[in-house]
């Protein structure tokens, strides 16, 4: 079960993952969001983003409170230069493929290069409202 296997993440201090990174502030350890921490770790390691937002949108959906099933990630990285939208999304999906097989049910991705991000409003819109699903 996901919860058992990720229990160990409650013991990590996320600051370990960000040493040497100029971009990420230390975030407090929270035992309640192991999936979010895992996603953050993987995206930071892979993309060294200049901006990263991970938004748990599970509360907007027909799932139990406290779920970590629906996420929006905003990744701004020069690793996306000269890549199409589809390629960028595939890259992010690839990095998070384990999570997508083990609990993460929906992943909304905003993937921009630093210059695209600077040119944009930098406002992240909420994902569409849930239509009920099948409780999944």
């Amino acid at each position: 079960m996901l919860v058992r296997s990720l229990r160990v993440f409650g013991l990590y201090h996320p600051a370990q993952f960000f040493s040497g990174s100029k971009t990420m502030a230390t975030i407090p350890v929270k035992n309640g969001n192991p999936m979010e921490l895992l996603i953050r770790d993987k995206l930071v390691r892979q993309f060294s983003p200049v901006h990263l937002d991970i938004i748990n949108e599970s509360y907007m959906h027909n799932v139990p409170k406290g779920s970590e099933t629906h996420f929006k990630v905003v990744v701004v990285s020069d690793k996306f230069e000269n890549t199409s939208l589809l390629q960028r999304h595939r890259l992010v999906n690839e990095i998070l493929q384990n999570e997508l097989k083990n609990g993460v049910h929906a992943l909304s991705i905003v993937a921009k290069t630093p210059s695209q991000w600077e040119d944009s409003s930098k406002v992240t819109e909420k994902s569409p409202a849930c239509k009920g699903g099948f409780g999944r």
Partner: protein, 98 residues
């Protein structure tokens, strides 16, 4: 998609239906993965894409809801529809404005 175009069962699937409706595109094949667990899994393997909805235009995989939304905003969707012989309703609206 999840659900059917007349009644989507997922906000992301609904967004796709609405975007196509804005472009005047309603005559498309839609498959409800919630009614077929084999298809739900199979399409993810086929496209090597982990989520639903999945959009194909002219037999080519285009992406999910986020990508379609982006293409809608930047005009790319109108071009992609044109490539398969579909005239977007939004072009006509643009013409009327001019």
């Amino acid at each position: 998609m999840k659900g059917v175009p007349e009644q989507p069962m997922c906000g992301f699937s609904n967004a796709v239906v609405q975007i196509f409706r804005m472009h005047g595109v309603t005559n498309y094949d839609a498959h409800n993965v919630l009614a077929d667990e084999n298809m739900r899994q199979g399409i993810k393997e086929f496209s090597n894409w982990p989520t639903i909805p999945q959009i194909f235009i002219g037999g080519e995989f285009v992406g999910g809801c986020d990508i379609l939304l982006q293409m809608h905003k930047n005009g790319e969707l109108i071009e992609e529809l044109q490539k398969v012989g579909i005239q977007s309703a939004l072009i006509e609206q643009e013409d009327k404005k001019e």
